[in-house]
Amino acid sequence: MSRKVERQTDPEREPILHPAEDYASISREISDIVLQPTSGAWWLGFCLSGLGVLLFIVAAGYLFSAGVGIWGINTTVVWGFDIINYVWWIGIGNAGTLISAMLYLARQPWRTSINRFAEAMTIFAASIAGLFPLLHLGRPYLFYWLAPYPNVMGVWPQFRSPLVWDMFAIGTYIIVSVLFWYTGLIPDLATLRDRARSHAAQLVYGALALGWRGSAAHWKHYEKAYVILAALAVPLVVSVHSVVGYDFSTALMPGWRSTIFAPYFVVGAMFSGFAMVIVITIALRAAFKLHAFVTLRHLDAMAKILLTASLIMGYSYGMEAFMAWYGTDADEWRQTVATATGPYAPAYWGMLFCNVAIPQLCWSARVRRSIPVLLLVAILVNIGMWLERYVIVVNILSHGFIPSQFRLYFPTIWDWATMLGSFALFLWFFFLFVRFVPMVPMHEVRKLAHEMGERS
């Protein structure tokens, strides 16, 4: 779309960077957040989330000593909150790198202000997600059996199993996400090195900046590496969440064995991830007064993508039900009816309400630019995506093939403790991130300022 058409269709279009910002003010405002003395509010948040981390450690410690019997899972519903939270977190974890890399390849200038914390979100969420399958192993201390290493038992992992693919996919994904994130961070660490006044900060940021000088050759190699890493990251994300979909769809359980699962999971991941990025963007913008860098235009663009993803989700839900009705498998249709009318019907309808109905509000430009409403939509989408995983995991398992085996699932206090603890762990990581890492990529914003008209 040409700029002229854009202006006609969207006359109130906000700039993506406040016009008063120049190179010096960009460097100063963003690096000062990191280099200034620690605020009281940060300590409060850090300590409160730290308490939650302790809760997580206690819950995991008790699990290690007592076993998975402390959870509400039973012989029918063998996967409970552990796998729901795993899929929920990996969905969020998939989106940050996808958003950052895809928008970079598509040359969307509004990506610049949000990509750093979107990628940080990815690394934290994917790491937390990776903990859940380990916790649910039953004998978590034997997790290394998943790795192919020569052992006295003379056996190797089953390479035809999606659970083995899962471990390698997530491991690869975390490594590549960290490389992508750190590559983009190196020039900003050099800025912090040069702006730091305390010796300790100079030393630490100097070491982390690896001697970056910002020469023309440095930038050339940097840009080359960054664009290819972005191009590698996009299909990688698709593969990771497809494998999560295969965890379910290669099983025989009616309601799982569907070819739609892989694409449906990938879009769901992007959907929940964008919702989480909106929540984080609004929170950071208010907390650190990033109004010059994160404008309503960013929120508007993200809300549009949220809306698009919700339409695809609605199509997937519809297709899932339609194929069950249209197909010849009686169990599939029985499962679909039970999902919509059985004991877990509130979760199913709640999912449809949060994921399909509520995001339709984003058709309105007023909603897309209203921060409180958009925040509410994004939080509801995150809840809806959690409910979706509840429907897929617990609801489907609770009524499989044999009626005598039908059982319900009731989470125990330890299920809740692990889940709340994982939220706290995420927040705790984020508090560390905003304190020690520039949350907006300064060099990219400078380039944006350059492209929008030279300022100095």
């Binding site: 035809r160 690869t172 290819i228 299909p235 593969s239």
Partner: protein, 179 residues
């Protein structure tokens, strides 16, 4: 090696830096280096930088990772520990493609990251240019042009006069240092 210090000119905008590079190259200097706080579009064209081989290395290591992963799976699952899963063939290659893909990406990404650092000569704990007056702004808001004293055209006085004629904010000396 020329014992004279190299000269570093400081500019306020990317435009001035690009103009200065064009004029410096027209004046016959070849050993020049530019520093900027962001990836200035057109900078590598102005300096005629060679296209790096980074992509080749990423491709090679990507293929290496993929081939290694596929052969490993095929050997372990079909030869070393054949496991009958539902009567499927031991060499059931379609399921092996997933890890093949993951390791292709991993190999290429690691090669890209390490290759970028290697081509840039990083990590490096010291460089003489860090001692130059005001160079800390190269990572913040200023643009620098370095004329290396090893350049055959380099002449301490005339080169400084030439750099002054580009109307920079300042011209400073960069010692050879120890590095």
């Amino acid at each position: 090696m020329n014992p004279n210090p190299s000269l570093l000119a400081e500019f306020e905008t990317a435009e001035q830096l690009l103009n200065a590079i064009v004029r410096t190259r027209t004046a016959g200097y070849r050993r020049i280096e530019a520093y900027a706080p962001f990836a200035v579009p057109g900078l590598d064209e102005a300096l005629d930088l060679l296209t790096p081989r980074l992509t080749h290395w990423m491709l090679i290591f990507g293929i290496f990772g993929g081939v290694l992963a596929f052969l490993l799976q095929a050997y372990l699952a079909a030869v070393d520990y054949p496991l009958n899963a539902g009567g499927r063939p031991y060499f059931s290659w379609p399921p092996f493609t997933v890890l093949t893909f993951e390791f292709t990406v991993l190999g290429a990404a690691v090669a890209g990251f390490l290759g970028m650092l290697a081509l840039n000569g990083l990590p490096r704990h010291y460089h003489p240019i860090f001692d130059a007056e005001g160079f800390d702004r190269a990572s913040q808001d200023r643009f620098f042009l370095l004329l290396d004293s090893d350049d055959p055209e380099f002449e301490p006085d005339s080169t400084r006069r030439f750099l002054d004629s580009l109307s920079p904010v300042a011209v400073t000396e960069v010692g050879r240092g120890s590095g």
